[in-house]
């Protein structure tokens, strides 16, 4: 393998990991506040559709990205209303959101399948882009990718080293104690559930505006679910989420590379299964590791509704 192929593979690995990374970081915040939202796939699909549709009709990429984040946040708000206020089962509500997002995006998007709109093009960063190997891999990417470079460390810092981050974690670990300490549990859960939805929507917009421009039914092909798996792999830590997303992106990039090279040792249908099989493998490994090390990053109150009567 020559240096050009290496750059090609690494560059694609980063590109195909970005949507998952954005959604994973969003879901980490949602889950850290104690809300399990399994509807990431639906929110990403609606984000991809609304981002593309808004750009198509307004010819403005900023509006597209904004629309995707608003729609993602609104869908998460629905999930929040049913699970936080009405205290419905979070797993089933999340599944309902995923199914609703699939159906709604396929219904509303039928008329713009195959249309072409503006797209977000790679934006080389001057000077940095000229560093050998790392330059073209890291700094000749779309602005979405640069945003994720900024997002991940700030998310990590916010969660572990800031007061609001501490409140957020407290609400997810022990809402009763947080409530006693005067932290507004319900408000915080709503806020971070919506934040998670906005990032999932942004991840979707990245797919439809930059990665594979255009709208296609079910174009996320399970990346929302993979993001939820990556939350577990990351042990709810945004920094570790990078590794999960990059591994996923790497598997995708190898698949591209093999297909481009007509590499026939591994048949193409197996290559297409790889990201999913790989996600299962990663879940097995991390669950094993957790059992051996007897630690997990899962918030103690994940999935449980909060109500004051529980401690009165």
């Amino acid at each position: 393998m020559d240096i050009q192929s290496l750059i090609f593979i690494l560059s694609i690995a980063i590109q195909s990991s970005t949507a998952v990374l954005l959604a994973t970081v969003g879901e980490i915040f949602t889950e850290k506040s104690g809300v399990l939202n399994l509807g990431v796939e639906g929110m990403m699909l609606m984000g991809a559709l609304s981002g593309f549709a808004a750009t198509y009709y307004s010819h403005n990429l900023f509006l597209g990205v904004l629309a995707a984040m608003v729609v993602g946040g609104m869908l998460a708000l629905i999930h929040g209303f049913f699970t936080i206020t009405l205290r419905a089962n979070q797993v089933v509500c999340g599944l309902a959101l995923a199914i609703l997002g699939m159906g709604l995006s396929s219904f509303l998007g039928r008329s713009i399948i195959g249309r072409v709109a503006e797209r977000v093009v790679p934006l080389p960063v001057c000077f940095l882009e000229e560093i050998p190997v790392f330059g073209p891999v890291l700094f000749n990417q779309s602005p979405f990718v640069y945003f994720s470079y900024l997002l991940v460390p700030s998310a990590w810092f916010f969660l572990y080293y800031s007061r609001p981050g501490l409140s957020l974690r407290a609400v997810g670990e022990n809402p009763v104690a947080a409530d006693t300490a005067g932290i507004p549990v319900i408000k915080i859960r709503y806020l971070w559930t919506m934040f998670g939805g906005m990032l999932a929507g942004l991840g979707g917009a990245y797919l439809s505006l930059a990665y594979t421009p255009g709208w296609k039914e079910n174009m996320t092909s399970g990346q929302g679910w993979i993001a939820i798996a990556m939350v577990i792999f990351a042990l709810w830590n945004p920094l570790r989420a990078i590794f999960g997303a990059l591994l996923f992106g790497g598997v995708n990039a190898l698949q591209f590379y093999f297909e481009a090279r007509q590499f026939s040792l591994i048949p193409s249908y197996i290559l297409r299964m790889l990201p999913y099989l790989f996600t299962i493998a990663i879940l097995v490994v991390i669950t094993r590791w957790e059992t051996v090390r007897k630690r997990t990053g899962a918030p103690a109150s994940l999935g449980l509704p909060f109500q004051r009567e529980d401690h009165s």
Partner: protein, 373 residues
């Protein structure tokens, strides 16, 4: 004045039924907004859907055709949910069941007496789906790996495998490039009711629902499944081998979804081809939860949701609106039904603002009311 939420000690039945009716109306209302957004007249759209699904004999029979896989998939989700497992891999298990039974029809049927072909297909469909579901089952039981994600990931794997088979090695050699296997011999066809596409699978899925109901209410195994689902700690302390129950339940759960695949290939398509995996596995989740995991309830809910699907197809044919509106209505309905449980578990009350709610009240009259907010 302010709103106060009170918990009811006994869930109210009246409120529960009010909630169901309210949910249906709210879902239809939200669907109406979606129709308006798509530039269609909601009343006309609903009329087209209703008459398209239940308007005449043939359309009604088409609803029954779609009811069959929905019942199987709903039962599949219900039995796993009873033991607190989330099997959302119904779609992949359906595909696996289709592959398993197609293998019998394509390669084994010449060597079998024709009376044995269908029973062998049923067994193979069940086993293929069940074994596919045993992968997440085994990972969950032995290592505690999250079964929601593993079962869902396997959907994609199974569907790619299915496509590979009918595009590749199993493609009909004399099919002129048609993406599908050769047609099954007639001995592998499930008999149909005259003038319809409704096939014998209908009887099987009703039977399966009744058997499951009997298992849940009358057998030791069903009782133990419910105990584990409702109180895993108690079950473990009582010395139950939970691993074995998880494996058994996942085998049956996947087997039921596999039967849906078997019924589709052997009752409708007569071959493996595109259009086998159209989302029945996902709708099965909705079927199971709308009927509150009750096997007999699943029969009726599946019929109703199949009506929505067929109505959606008619909408596409008549008004050129995408048929996925069926899925939209079903997802919305599930949301509202889940939310409506709130009505049966809590009650809303207006109270004067100044009164400080005292949760430690010992007044015997208010023992069944606990002030929440």
């Amino acid at each position: 004045m302010r709103f106060v939420v009170e918990r009811r000690l006994d869930p109210s039945r009246t409120a529960s039924w009010t909630g169901v009716v309210l949910s249906v109306f709210l879902a239809l209302f939200m669907g109406g907004i979606v129709f308006l957004a798509a530039g269609a007249n909601p009343l006309k759209a609903y009329w087209v859907m209703a008459s398209g699904a239940f308007g005449n004999f043939y359309n009604l029979s088409e609803v029954l055709v779609k009811t069959i896989p929905l019942i199987f998939c709903g039962l599949s989700v219900a039995i796993s949910a009873k033991i607190l497992l989330w099997n959302i891999g119904g779609e992949g298990q359906l595909a696996a069941g289709g592959i398993g039974s197609a293998a019998v029809a394509l390669f084994l049927s010449p060597h079998l007496p024709s009376a044995f072909v269908l029973p062998t297909m049923i067994v193979m469909g069940f086993l293929a789906g069940g074994l596919w579901a045993s992968i997440p089952g085994l990972l969950k039981a032995k290592m505690g790996v999250n079964e929601i994600l593993t079962s869902l990931m396997l959907n994609y794997v199974a569907i790619y495998w299915l496509e590979h088979l009918y595009f590749g090695p199993w493609r009909d050699p004399i099919g002129m490039g048609f993406p599908g296997t050769a047609m099954f011999p007639e001995s592998a066809w499930l008999p149909r009711f005259p003038q319809t596409r409704v096939h014998l699978g209908l009887a099987f899925c009703v039977l399966a629902a009744l058997i499951l109901q009997w298992i849940f209410t009358r057998t030791r195994w069903g009782y133990e499944i419910r105990v584990i689902g409702e109180n895993p700690r108690a079950a473990r302390l009582a010395g139950m081998n939970i691993t074995r129950y998880i494996l058994g339940v996942m085998l049956v759960s996947g087997g039921l979804a596999g039967l849906a695949g078997m019924a589709e290939v052997s009752g409708i398509h007569y071959r493996l081809q595109q259009g086998l995996t159209v989302g029945y596995g996902y709708v099965g989740i909705i079927v199971a939860w709308l009927s509150r995991l009750h096997p007999v309830g699943i029969l009726f809910v599946a019929f109703f949701l199949a009506g929505l699907l067929v109505g959606g197809d008619q909408l596409q044919a008549v008004m050129h609106l995408p048929s996925s509106v069926g899925l939209v209505l079903e997802g919305t309905l599930l949301f509202f039904i889940l939310g409506s449980d709130f009505l049966s578990r809590y009650r809303l009350k207006l109270e004067p603002k100044m009164q400080v709610p005292n949760s430690n009240e010992t007044n015997p009259k208010s023992n069944d009311r606990i002030t929440v907010i």
